[in-house]
């Protein structure tokens, strides 16, 4: 007997609410895990020194930034040595930029798969953001070494270390939702994203302290959600603490808006993806 319990109707009107989207993702969490697992496996199989890259990339970037901006241009970072100043921000920056990059191309690069099988499409940009967590964890070890080297004692603030990470993950995923959906139709996104991310680096207090930004430009740091997150991360790593929570609050609010908005946009557009890609 056919039971009516599992009846599903497919029609033009079958759009889904945000709640359905979330529960569908939850129901497919195993597949999400497999996507992340696959990415990591493949990367490690195709590279000669595998995990070392996760450490080398930020380490070398830190060295170059220190040479160019710290020593060359002489950017002043107060009492904090420039290398650890830049590294504490760079860590998040690399995680965020890699996530956005990979998430935004995740739909197009899986076009073949999308036209052959159904699964919640959102898993692709999501998994792209989860994959980077491993690199983040590995690169964090350098930070610990540097804290010893520069004699920076960990404070209780460090307990909040996951908060900026979570926010940058949500921001990366949120932007990833928007960009990957748009890129299915307009491949221009491919060219715009790397370029914009490069610009964003200069609009974020990664290589310079926020105090360096003059009055008429400071609005950029206010509306850039990444600025609040990076400043917060730095404050808890360096143990200077946080007295003014407003910037982080504004960042968090923007992040949530971008994330939820991205989710709504993506799930609205999701059903068309296989047709336009």
């Amino acid at each position: 007997m056919v039971t009516d319990v599992k009846v599903r109707v497919i029609s033009q009107r079958s759009t889904r609410s945000l709640r359905n989207t979330l529960s569908e993702i939850w129901a497919n969490r195993e597949l999400l895990y497999f996507f992340v697992w696959k990415e990591i496996k493949i990367r490690y199989k195709q590279t000669a020194i595998g995990a070392t890259w996760a450490i080398l990339q930020p380490l070398l970037t830190m060295v170059i930034f220190t040479a160019v901006f710290g020593i060359g241009l002489g950017i002043k970072t107060g009492d904090v040595p420039y290398p650890i100043f830049v590294y504490s921000g760079l860590l998040l920056w690399i995680y965020f930029s890699t996530s956005v990059n990979n998430a935004s191309s995740s739909i197009v690069s899986n076009a073949q798969l999308l036209s052959k099988v159904y699964f919640p499409r959102m898993l692709l940009p999501l998994s792209a953001c989860l994959v980077g967590l491993l690199d983040f964890a590995l690169a964090s070890m350098i930070l610990i070494v540097m804290m010893f080297y520069f004699n920076i004692a960990p404070t209780l603030w460090l307990l909040l270390i996951l908060l900026p990470l979570l926010l940058s993950m949500l921001l990366g995923a949120g932007l990833g939702f928007w960009l990957s959906a748009v890129s299915a139709k307009y491949r221009d996104v491919h060219y715009i994203v790397p370029f914009s991310i490069q610009l964003l680096l200069f609009a974020s207090p990664v290589i310079y302290p926020p105090s360096l930004v003059g009055g008429s430009w400071s609005w950029i740091l206010t509306i850039n959600p990444l600025a609040g997150i990076i400043n917060f991360q730095r404050a808890i790593v360096l143990g200077t603490g946080v007295t003014d929570w407003a910037p982080l609050g504004i960042s968090a609010l923007l992040v949530i808006l971008i994330f939820v908005g991205g989710m709504i946009y993506f799930s609205h557009y999701e059903r068309e993806i296989a047709d336009v890609i």
Partner: protein
């Protein structure tokens, strides 16, 4: 009979294809902006739509009862795959609806989710998960899958080192162990050797005898007749016939013998290139020039193809590429092997390509066509122009044996030493 497990009601699906269909379906942002800038009002009102509507499906309705195995036949572009894609939620209908009373599993290609770098074991998990199996289900079926695929020894070898036979076996084995109430299968059996095909057909039969419902797309009429009680025949998006398989297949073959030219001029064909020259049709023929739909192993064959040139072109290459089911290029032949032809005036050109000897071993082949100018500028490139099977030659002593590989060339064997 009770309530049907699948109800398809007035299902329609259209696509929009830009007039420059050759660009593919995605647009460049710059094109859109230029369009808006030039014709702001019309663009916003949508009146200046340079798009063409293509109905992939038009008002298709049918019911399937639980436990039935239904065949789905029709020429390339008739809408068979679109039906399966809508059922598996990959794409959505423009109008109409489908009511499904059971979990759907679909097998639209061999090796969905496979990654060449991953090992056999890893791919079983990955592909299983993508096809909708839970981890516990995969673990429960793991032994069976490995046994069915006969890859025990190579479980920890990356599948890029597999032979195409092993690859296909493993891929099918994973999919065959899906446990949905409704199984959708799209032309996946035409791969692998005869013995394996038999095994796959047997598996599908088991699935249906277990009370599950199967929708089966194939160009292989023998398989359709052997497996399906009833068959749906789609033609240009509409349902032409839905009846007992033997009747449908007989009628289909009768009609097919009238019009064997495979039309490439249709907007449903995906192509790229400037369009200054376009392939308009392609015809598969046996060595005597009679139109056919499949070729026997070892039998020479011909392709006849028509190229329409819109403006005079500097033509460097016309190429025909044969690909196997997993998309590997097996053989490419180009016109300058025997023709000296560089300037083509406006007009229509018919080429005949003789594949003689025929090196292909049994399996499914896809034909890609390309016409290129200087520096590989593309006039017209169609990756998926035609699909046909090379069938085993029952008269040869090889018929029941499997010769691993995709092609066969005569090699000379000599016994040069013998000691007793």
């Amino acid at each position: 009979m009770g309530v049907p497990i699948i109800e398809v009601r007035n299902l329609s699906k259209h696509y929009f294809i830009g007039h420059k269909g050759a660009w593919g379906s995605y647009k460049r942002l710059s094109e859109i902006i230029v369009d808006y800038a030039r014709h702001p009002v019309e663009s916003i009102r949508g009146a200046r739509s340079k798009k063409e509507e293509i109905w992939a499906l038009k008002d298709v309705s049918f019911n399937v009862d639980k436990g039935e195995v239904i065949g789905l036949i029709g020429r390339n572009g008739a809408g068979k795959t679109t039906v399966l894609k809508i059922m598996s939620k990959i794409t959505y209908p423009t109008a109409g609806e489908i009511i499904l009373r059971g979990r759907v599993g679909s097998l639209l290609e061999v090796g969905t989710g496979f990654h060449p770098e991953l090992t056999g074991r890893e791919n079983i998990y990955m592909s299983g998960a993508i096809l909708g199996m839970r981890k516990v289900e995969i673990e429960r079926n793991f032994e069976d899958i490995v046994k069915f695929a006969e890859v025990e020894k190579f479980l920890d070898t990356p599948v890029k080192r597999y032979s195409s036979g092993m690859y296909v076996r493993l891929a099918f084995a994973v999919a065959a162990h899906l446990e949905p109430e409704i199984l959708l299968v799209d032309e996946v059996l035409a791969v692998g050797d005869a013995q394996f095909q038999k095994k796959c057909l047997g598996k599908i039969k088991d699935v249906s005898e277990g009370g599950r419902t199967v929708l089966f797309v194939s160009h292989n009429m023998a398989a359709i007749e052997g497996l399906c009680e009833k068959t749906i025949w789609l033609e240009q998006g509409s349902m032409k016939m839905y009846a007992d398989s033997h009747d449908v297949v007989a009628e289909y073959l009768r009609m097919a013998s009238f019009s064997k030219e495979n039309n490439l001029d249709s907007p449903t064909i995906s192509r790229k290139g400037s369009g200054q020259a376009r392939f308009t049709w392609l015809q598969l023929m046996n060595q005597h020039g009679a139109p056919v739909e499949s070729i026997t192993e070892g039998e020479p064959f011909r392709l006849r193809l028509n190229l329409r040139v819109e403006k005079p072109i500097e033509m460097k290459i016309i190429g025909v590429t044969f690909r196997d089911k997993v998309g590997r290029n097996i053989l490419t032949t180009v016109h300058y092997d025997s023709l000296d032809l560089e300037q083509l005036d406006r007009g229509s050109y018919i080429f005949s390509v003789h594949i003689e000897p025929n090196p292909f071993l049994r399996g499914n082949l896809n034909i890609g066509l390309g016409c290129y100018g200087t520096n590989f500028s593309e006039y017209d490139v169609i990756d998926d122009a035609y699909n046909f099977n090379i069938t085993p030659n029952l008269d040869s002593k090889d018929a029941l044996r499997w010769r691993p590989g995709v092609v066969n060339i005569p090699a000379k064997w000599e016994l040069i030493e013998e000691n007793h």
